[in-house]
């Protein structure tokens, strides 16, 4: 396979390098600010994944895989669902119903806060991992 000079996309690479941290930051903002504004786990997960996909489009799969290996992604995919379902199991063990966050703390509102935080984080992790691995799957075949 021939190798192609990377200089051809110098502008894109510089812009991407500047952009990626802000995309990641915005993803985190959407994730953790979902209680107060539009957003939540699904949107944040997609935005977070977009940062890696953008990096992959410009710098190539090989370097992206070094940042976020597919083996890690597989664990993350399962971890998100586990975090969500695990929150439900914990609430049951604390005496509530499945996903009844009131049981998580003495003050029901605090319990709700922690519960929503945990499940949204679970959603975000799973969505990020699935989206990035879909991109890997499509982009690595040629």
């Amino acid at each position: 396979m021939k190798s192609y000079p990377r200089q051809r996309h110098r502008v894109l690479q510089v812009v991407t390098r500047l952009l990626v941290p802000f995309v990641l930051m915005f993803g985190l903002y959407v994730q953790f600010h979902g209680d107060y504004g539009p957003g939540g786990g699904f949107q944040a997960g997609v935005i977070f994944a977009t940062a890696f996909i953008l990096y992959g489009l410009i710098f190539g799969l090989q370097r992206t895989r070094r940042v976020l290996p597919p083996s890690v992604l597989r664990w993350l995919m399962a971890l998100g669902v586990l975090l969500y379902a695990g929150t439900g199991v914990v609430t049951m063990m604390l005496g509530g119903n499945l996903l009844d966050y009131d049981a998580l703390a003495h003050d029901p509102l605090h319990g709700q806060h922690w519960g929503i935080f945990a499940v949204e984080l679970g959603v975000g992790i799973t969505v990020t991992a699935v989206m990035v691995s879909l991109f890997y799957g499509f982009a690595s075949k040629r």
Binding site: H113, V123, F138, A139, S140
Partner: protein
Amino acid sequence: MSLEQFSIAVLLTFLAVAAIGIIVLRDLLAAVILTGLYSLIAAGAFVVMDAMDVAFTEAAVGSGISTILFLGALSFTKHDQKPRGNDSWLALLFVVVTGGLLIYGTLDMPPYGSATSPAQTHPQLAKRFIEQSGDEVGPPNIVTSVLASYRGYDTLGETVVVFTAGVAVMGLLGLKRRRPEEELPEHAPGDTPHEPGHDNDRMT
């Protein structure tokens, strides 16, 4: 006709135009880009309808990720749709009847923005969410309260659906665990090879 209704009408017209364009176009790359545009217009319509969270999702998932994944799928195949055989009249009849039934089904729905629709007046739905979610759940964004707490079980199901989709696609496309480094492409996917006669608008 208020400005809001006018905006929605314009956006829905654009939606219809984009949808027809997607059907008519033979160039799959252009069709994929139009799909992204379709989602963006839909997101705009949702914004006008004050459904911010839905618009956000539509913009991020519909016009962002889906377009990229479609482009990735396009790299497996050719960029032009195969010429179709004779379109049968039976298929057209079937589509028209199905579409007619779907439109007939919407006739029973309450008009857009109706304050007396069952979802608005039922004591356990919108009324309770708006009046009591602050005391029961907390977050100022009621959508988050409904999504993560009142309907937490549904969202768990949705997360499992996303997970399942990921597992299924990985199973189909075979995300190899340890791909030898030398097998990986040397160039970035955005690069286009400098070969004479090679069409340069390809993604990979």
